[in-house]
């Protein structure tokens, strides 16, 4: 059993996976499509530990667009229970550091 809280985010592109794969506390697993179907090119689910929370925050921040975006992540607790969180990526006039702080607060509550 994992001893610490982890976070997962699905739908990570291969490009992002290759950029982030060497970061500490980050793991990737290929997202499958049902057998026999025509899926889109490969995507990954990223799992990060608390130590790599900044990586997750920076990744989510990069996903901001001109419109308000929401991305769902899952918080997995050491006892196996989990909780979904919708992270709101708001395109306000926030500076990158403020925006990162806002995302981190939504992920981890501080």
């Amino acid at each position: 059993m994992q001893q610490e809280i982890r976070y997962t985010v699905p739908g990570v592109s291969k490009l992002d996976m290759l950029k982030l794969k060497d970061a500490r506390g980050v793991e990737f697993a290929e997202v499958p499509v049902p057998a026999g179907t025509y899926g889109e090119p490969v995507l990954f689910t990223m799992t990060v530990t608390l130590a790599a929370l900044q990586v997750l925050g920076a990744y989510l921040l990069k996903k901001r667009t001109q419109a308000r975006t929401e991305i769902e992540i899952e918080e997995i607790h050491p006892d196996g229970s989990s909780m979904r969180k919708r992270i709101v990526l708001d395109n306000s006039s926030q500076e990158p550091t403020e925006a990162l702080a806002s995302v981190m607060k939504q992920i981890h509550g501080r």
Binding site: K14, L18, P34, V42, T69
Partner: protein
């Protein structure tokens, strides 16, 4: 995460289902269904998956569907057989049909993905007189994207509007990333169908531009022509239905040879004359028929096969398909399993309806059902005629449906499994009859589950299927990889060197640098020249272009490539 939820978009060739992950359906439900706006970020992905759907509803697509139905019927009959000989006979029939279905799907997958990727990244309606079903659908769905009220948009401006929306959609960071991901796919057809298929279609376009520029300068026309060329192909149907080889390796060889000839045919025959003939067929100006109807009237569809092949086996192939449909949808099949029969007819009738997405919402009962967002704000009021079920849990499922026939959206409302109502975009209540019968089929994931369940039954009844498919596939795999490599690298100066560089990780093997690959993706997107990306954090196009010469030098040194030409600062490489 929830096992039922999907995080990668897909289309199912047999269930004809489509699951889109880029759509934030919970927030877009009403805008989508009222056809007010279509989310920009999901438009290219939708073009991709809709192209798959379009190919499935074709002579080849229906033939594969009915062959798999017949295999299922044979599997069931083998389970009910009274003697070992009889059981063996049905199992062999099942194996032969499954081998043909699965080998054909595997061999065609690079073409299918190539067309879908081309629709996603390149195709743009131009000056052609005709437009295919995918971009017709997109034009309707995106009609409200740039105007406050889509009714203000005159019909003759629909395509202008779509072109502008597509340029916007393809100039976003997310889209450049999707293109970069495509360029990162392995070139080997045995490892991935995407890049080899995409480059094959792209090369066909360049070839066609050189030989029939008047028609093919419209890239959407290329998509339409290729869809008809590969999928409305009655010779494929003839091959699948007539040449019933017992040995899977011979079946595989025959199919591979056929595909090879078809690919060569395209380059050999593409011309302004053939393109004009194709336009005439689509516009019904040609004398030959382009409607298929089975004698039991249960299957009908239109097609537009290409000029070159029109004189060969079309009539015989159509008769063979009629016989197949009669055999599958017969009273005998209904007697064998009424459940399976209902699944088949459900899969058949629901092919026209695309489920854009579904989401659950809380609701308040009343004369009008008040559906609310999760934060309690009202979303929509629906005049449901059906009663809520007695054990209702206070939640409804809204399903956004798009009908490819009349190009309209509808909203279905369910409480659990019970369908409460179906509403058109202007709020009118629709006749429930057609929808109630097939209400489980409104969930595309359930349709896919049906198909997988039935396939599992086939495997249990006839355990030799997988082995037979593998035997056929292994016999042709190496040649298949070589064939796709040569079509994908048609314009490469040194194809062997290029294939070695790109076999495992696509263009990363050429650029050897991720940021350069990202820039290559941006430089090869037509939309990227028009839209300036000013959102904070994105790279401006001028920044992207600063390394163009460096990228080109790398491509030439590592893979021996030359750009084909430059136009308005977009680099049209001969390969991407």
């Amino acid at each position: 995460m929830d096992g039922r939820q999907h995080y990668r978009s897909f289309a199912d060739p047999l269930a004809s289902s489509l699951v889109l992950t880029a759509l934030d359906i919970e927030n877009w439900m009403t805008d989508l269904t009222m056809m007010k706006r279509f989310p920009l970020s999901a438009l290219p992905q939708f073009a991709h998956e809709l192209t798959h759907q379009w190919c499935f509803t074709s002579p080849l697509g229906y033939t594969l569907l009915f062959l798999s139905f017949r295999a299922q019927k044979a599997a069931l009959m083998s389970m009910e057989a009274e003697t070992a000989d009889e059981r063996m006979r049905f199992c062999r029939q099942c194996e032969r049909d499954m081998v043909r279905v699965q080998l054909c799907q595997r061999l065609m997958q690079p073409i299918a993905e190539g067309l879908a990727e081309f629709a996603e990244h390149d195709a743009m309606p131009g000056r052609s007189e005709i437009i295919g079903a995918v971009f017709q659908s997109l034009a309707m769905l995106a009609a409200g994207n740039r105007v406050k009220n889509k009714r203000e948009l005159p019909a003759d401006k629909l395509l202008d509007n779509l072109r502008a929306v597509l340029l916007d959609a393809r100039a976003t960071d997310q889209h450049i990333e999707r293109k970069a991901n495509l360029l990162l796919e392995p070139l080997s057809a045995l490892r991935s169908p995407y890049l080899c298929g995409y480059l094959t279609i792209k090369n066909m376009w360049f070839w066609a531009l050189n030989h029939a520029a008047e028609h093919f300068s419209d890239s959407e026309f290329l998509l339409y022509y290729c869809k008809a060329f590969f999928y409305d192909d009655w010779d494929w149907v003839y091959l699948l239905l007539k040449r019933d080889m017992i040995f899977p390796d011979l079946n595989a060889e025959m199919m591979l040879d056929f595909l090879k000839i078809r690919l060569e045919d395209f380059n050999r025959n593409v011309s302004e004359e053939h393109a004009a003939e194709f336009v005439d067929r689509v516009l019904n100006r040609a004398s030959s028929p382009r409607e298929f109807e089975s004698s039991n009237k249960l299957l009908n569809f239109s097609f537009c096969y290409d000029y070159v092949r029109a004189t060969t086996k079309a009539a015989e192939a159509q008769q063979l398909l009629r016989e197949l449909v009669n055999d599958v949808l017969s009273p005998e099949s209904y007697k064998l399993s009424d459940n399976l029969f209902v699944v088949w007819t459900s899969l058949l009738t629901s092919r026209q309806n695309i489920t854009l997405g579904r989401a659950n919402y809380p609701a308040d009962p009343g004369k009008l059902l008040l559906v609310k967002r999760k934060d309690g704000k009202p979303l929509v009021m629906l005049p449901c005629k059906e009663e809520l079920p007695p054990n209702w849990n206070g939640e409804v499922t809204l399903v956004s449906l798009f009908d490819r026939g009349d190009l309209r959206c509808r909203l279905a409302c369910l409480a659990g499994d019970k369908l409460l109502g179906v509403f058109s975009e202007n709020g009118q209540t629709e006749d429930l009859q057609d929808f109630v019968r097939y209400s489980p089929a409104l969930d595309p994931a359930i349709r896919v589950d049906y198909v997988r369940l039935v396939e599992a039954m086939v495997r249990e009844a006839c355990p030799g299927v997988d082995e037979a498919v593998a035997k056929g596939w292994n016999h042709v795999a190496e040649r298949f990889e070589q064939m796709l490599a040569s079509t994908a690298l048609l314009f490469a100066k040194d194809p062997a060197k290029s294939f070695a560089a790109m076999k495992e990780s696509g263009f990363l093997g050429v650029t050897r640098d991720l940021s350069m690959l990202e820039q290559l993706a941006a430089l090869t997107l037509p939309g990227a020249t028009i839209k300036s990306m000013e959102f904070p954090g994105t790279k401006s196009l001028s920044q992207l272009r600063t390394r163009r010469d460096e990228i080109l030098a790398n491509l030439q040194a590592n893979a021996g490539y030359q750009p084909l030409h430059f136009e308005d600062d977009v680099v049209y490489f001969s390969f991407c």
